[in-house]
């Protein structure tokens, strides 16, 4: 009987192992990690210096292509660009008691026709003081690389012109400065 049991056991194992696999599967998990890309790069005009040397400068103000900031944006999503200034006043470097309103300086963004909604009106710096008062001058710009024309921007600056608080005649001579911030954020 033992022999029979062994034979049956062997036969069972043989039959059980007979049906080999005729198809097979493998599972590969795939993940995609999308990090938001938002980068601003100042190409030129990172420091705008208005120098008043003549009475015409005082009466007419300073404007022109030499007073421009060029920047570009690299973004993986539709983005906005906001602007705000640090202070409502510009303080004199030589004499801290000297101040003039930062509204003597104004900025304007040129529409690059890249699809964004651009507010090209002149913005007085004392109207956009602080992050809470930032002005969205570039709204819903298409995403893409900085090399794309749609992501290259020019900001024009003027001082003491008709687009600003007006003439600087009568203001104490000094070197006045204020910081202006450019903020890129996802739309």
């Amino acid at each position: 009987m033992k022999k029979i049991a062994l034979i049956l056991c062997g036969a069972f194992i043989y039959l059980a192992s007979y049906g080999q696999a005729v198809n097979d599967k493998a599972v590969i998990p795939v993940s995609v990690n999308l990090n938001q890309i938002l980068r601003l790069n100042i190409v030129s005009g990172g420091n705008i210096e208005f120098t008043f040397n003549t009475i015409t400068d005082y009466t007419g103000g300073l404007t022109g292509t030499q007073y421009q900031t060029t920047f570009n944006v690299t973004s993986s999503v539709i983005y906005d660009v906001n602007f705000y200034s640090e202070s409502a006043n510009m303080q004199g470097n030589d004499d801290a008691a000297n101040t003039i309103a930062s509204g003597f300086v104004a900025l304007s963004v040129t529409d690059n026709a890249g699809g964004a909604t651009v507010d090209a009106t002149w913005q007085l710096l004392d109207d956009i003081v602080g992050i809470g008062n930032q002005a969205t001058l570039i709204d819903a710009s298409p995403a893409g690389a900085a090399t794309a024309a749609a992501n290259q921007w020019v900001v024009s600056w003027e001082c003491a012109t008709a687009n600003t608080d007006g003439s600087l005649l009568g203001q104490p001579a000094d070197r006045y400065s204020v910081n202006t911030f450019i903020v890129v954020s996802g739309n």
């Binding site: 022999k3 029979i4 034979i7 049956l8 036969a11 043989y14 039959l15 007979y18 049906g19 080999q20 696999a21 005729v22 198809n23 097979d24 599967k25 493998a26 599972v27 590969i28 998990p29 795939v30 993940s31 995609v32 990690n33 999308l34 990090n35 938001q36 890309i37 980068r39 690299t74 973004s75 993986s76 999503v77 539709i78 995403a143 893409g144 690389a145 900085a146």
Partner: protein
């Protein structure tokens, strides 16, 4: 004597049942064996950290390496390698979704010959999926063959601009039959 006779009868029964059982076995043929073994590249991760990658996609070549063992006893069958996704989209952890069509797959069969056809980039779909290799045969005259198969992946070849940022995931099932 009776025991010996019983044993002989039992062997005879088993021998006769052998072919019957083989015919019940589903698949390409009797006693065939088909095994897909993962050698390397069991996980694919696309990480986007540059705008170039977002605009033009990321491609990984020879990322996954399979060994396909095919023992075709009758030398009368062909099998194929297919792949499909287990979900209709790539699901994001923040409830965003990405279309499966952003993922493309192709298979390169090293040393394959005969009727084996390698398809070009295939867009990922749900089951039954897409064919990556077809016409895979066992050896001439019967016997087994080992195939070395590499899988290439690419993601976002048509751009992922404006795709919400998230961690997306999907399982790709590779099937040989």
């Amino acid at each position: 004597m009776r025991q010996k006779l019983f044993c002989i009868l039992l062997f005879l029964i088993l021998f006769l049942c052998h072919d019957l059982i083989a015919q019940w076995t589903p698949g390409p043929g009797n006693q065939d064996t088909l095994t897909l073994s993962l050698l390397s590249g069991g996980y694919v991760s696309f990480k986007y950290t540059s705008i170039d990658a977002v605009e033009n996609g990321i491609t990984y070549t020879n990322w996954t390496n399979f060994n396909l063992y095919f023992d075709d006893e009758d030398n009368d069958d062909q099998v194929k390698l297919t792949c499909y996704a287990n979900t209709a989209n790539l699901d994001g952890e923040q409830s965003n979704t990405m279309a499966l069509s952003q993922i493309e797959v192709r298979a390169i069969c090293s040393g394959c010959s005969g009727d084996v056809t390698q398809t070009s980039w295939q867009t990922l779909t749900t089951s039954p999926g897409v064919d990556l290799l077809t016409g895979i045969e066992g050896s001439v005259g019967g016997g087994s063959l080992n195939y070395n198969i590499y899988i290439d992946y690419r993601c976002g070849n048509s751009g992922l601009i404006n795709q919400p940022n998230d961690y997306y995931y999907v399982d790709i099932i590779f099937d040989v039959e």
